[in-house]
């Protein structure tokens, strides 16, 4: 089931997004117009009141989003086939003869060249989320990439060592 995020304008202040979790708790983010944002947690007994409002800097918000995003990605990979705006997810097995076995992810320059992103690597039934540029490939790795159809074809070609440039 899709989660519903409710958006409420706060005239003169900014906007609030909130959602109710399946456990019945409400969490939200108040985005101030001046760029400040607060993570707000709501009271169980009084669902209209926030218990705590935690101000986050840009970096903190980004870090938190990264952490939550990585686990979200794993949770949704199975169901994520066809997304909006022509964005696709594909699992690409590293071919046995790939030039990148034993080399680093950064060497593929896949994102720069195809604008598709490698978001996870599946290895021995393990999921390695958000691999960094220094991540080293091994034989039989399966790469999970997100991008447009052309982008994904590009990544496939790069990993197979079939691209020209």
């Amino acid at each position: 089931m899709r989660v519903r995020v409710e958006q409420t304008p706060l005239p003169g202040i900014g906007v609030r997004h909130d959602l109710i979790t399946s456990s019945g708790r409400t969490v939200g983010v108040v985005s101030h117009r001046n760029g400040r944002r607060d993570l707000v947690l709501y009271d169980v007994d009084d669902p209209d009141a926030c218990l705590a409002a935690i101000p986050l800097t840009d970096d903190e918000a980004e870090a938190l989003a990264d952490v939550l995003g990585a686990s979200l990605m794993l949770g949704q990979l199975a169901g994520l086939r066809q997304q909006a705006a022509g964005l696709l997810t594909e699992q690409i097995a590293l071919p046995a003869g790939s030039p990148f076995v034993g080399r680093r992810l950064g060497d593929t320059r896949a994102r720069t060249r195809t604008s598709a992103s490698i978001v996870a690597v599946l290895r021995d039934r393990e999921v390695i989320a958000s691999p960094g540029p220094s991540f080293a490939f091994e034989a039989n790795d399966v790469v999970v990439a997100v991008g447009t159809r052309e982008g994904l074809s590009g990544v496939t070609a790069i990993l197979a060592g079939e691209d020209d440039d």
Partner: protein, 401 residues
């Protein structure tokens, strides 16, 4: 030369004293508005330390203060926000007006005042202070609360309603009678709608006329445009404040954002001067006789504000504690009430009006934010919880609309 020297000394000492007062107030969680008003009382005719040379200067400063208060208010809201809000919560706005303006008008008749004074007092009791309330909500960490948008939309509608109310009052006070007042109202309605339409359709174009890159030029051009439009509006008897408000609404995007940042310190300075000036025009000796009526009026209209917040919050499915919070938060009256009373004082209406308005604003603006804290105390929460438990089985979790 001598005159200028005294002016410098007086204005300097005044501003310094205001700064110290503001700091003291912050320590106790008080809005600076009541302190500025008290300072004005102390420095005015019949006060402790009457000012001599700087009164004229302060009068002009006060005029600019009103204009800056209003242009900042306009900058805070975008035209789309105003229209969207009007559509969504018009009924709460009407309820707010009926519940809070009518007691003010009735009270004026009870005191034996004329209908012009009743119109003015209705405005004074109607409008909550968006500045004070926004600050209270932020201080109490309630910006994320689900009843907060309800409070804000009541405030937005009140502020927008001022764009119609102020021209009406200005015209009536200018002595053109009810028909003249309604004419001014019609002009205001047409102007406001035109500005909103233009701002929504071409807001980007107006704003791109001014460059964000050169802060000095932006400051001068926004300030100049505001004062100019305010002056023209005053000349047309549509109230300078409303002209400034409309300039604020017409600007949008990056220009509005930067202008807000740059005008804020100016607004703080001149708004302080404005509150002092209003205090100056009130003789402290006139205060004691009106204290009791002011207290009665304050209690009555604070209760009607609680009812307003309660009903408005109930309408969007907020639970009992949230309704109480919304009601209590709406109580403080502030800058607008003083602006309205200032118009009446300038036209020489009802001599008791200024001391009554001063006392009324002092009472609500001091007690309102304190009472707004009530729902945060454990005993109050426990009390509400008991009431909820008694009245019905536990409410299901509020679902998003």
């Amino acid at each position: 030369m001598h005159e200028t020297t005294i002016l410098l000394i007086e204005v300097g000492a005044l501003l310094f004293a205001l700064g110290m007062l503001g700091r003291l107030g912050r320590r106790f969680g008080l809005s600076p508005i009541p302190l500025y008003l008290l300072a004005g009382l102390a420095f005015g005719h019949g006060g402790l330390l009457p000012l001599s040379a700087s009164e004229e200067f302060i009068e002009v400063g006060a005029e600019i203060g009103v204009i800056l208060l209003l242009v900042m208010l306009g900058l805070e809201y975008s035209a789309t926000e105003l229209v969207g809000n009007l559509r969504a919560s018009a009924s709460s706005g009407v309820l707010d007006m009926l519940l809070n303006a009518l007691p003010g008008a009735g009270f004026a008749f009870l005191l034996g005042w004329g209908w012009e004074a009743a119109l003015v007092l209705a405005g004074i009791t109607w409008v909550s202070s968006s500045g004070v309330i926004a600050k209270v909500l932020g201080d109490l960490g309630r910006l994320g609360n689900r009843e907060t948008p309800v409070i804000l939309s009541v405030l937005v509608i009140e502020d927008l309603a001022m764009a119609f109310y102020l021209p009406l009052v200005t015209a009536v006070l200018a002595g053109v009678g009810l028909v003249g007042g309604l004419e001014a109202l019609a002009v205001a309605v047409v102007t406001v709608i035109a500005v909103l339409v233009v701002a929504i359709r071409y807001g980007g174009a107006i704003s791109s006329f001014m460059s964000v890159r050169d802060p000095e030029a932006l400051l001068l051009s926004v300030l100049g445009l505001t004062l100019f439009v305010a002056g023209v509006a005053a000349e047309l008897n549509v109230s300078a404040a409303v002209g400034a408000f409309l300039v604020g609404i017409a600007l949008s995007g990056a220009v509005a954002h930067r202008a807000t940042e740059m005008l804020s310190p100016l607004r703080d300075l001149f708004a302080a001067v404005f509150f002092v000036f209003f205090g100056l025009s009130t003789n402290p000796a006139d205060m004691p006789p009106v204290l009791l009526p002011a207290l009665g009026l304050a209690v009555l209209t604070m209760l009607t504000k609680v009812a307003t917040g309660w009903v408005a919050a109930k309408r969007v499915g907020i639970a009992l504690p949230g309704r109480v919070r919304a009601g209590l938060a709406l109580m403080p009256r502030g800058e607008f009430s003083v602006v309205i009373a200032g118009l009446a004082v300038a036209s020489g209406l009802e001599p008791e009006l200024a001391p009554l308005a001063t006392a009324y604003v002092l009472i609500t603006v001091v007690s309102g934010p304190m009472l707004a804290r009530l729902p945060d105390y454990p005993w109050f929460k426990a009390f509400i919880r008991r009431r909820v438990a008694l009245s019905r089985p536990p409410a299901p979790l509020a679902a998003p609309e």
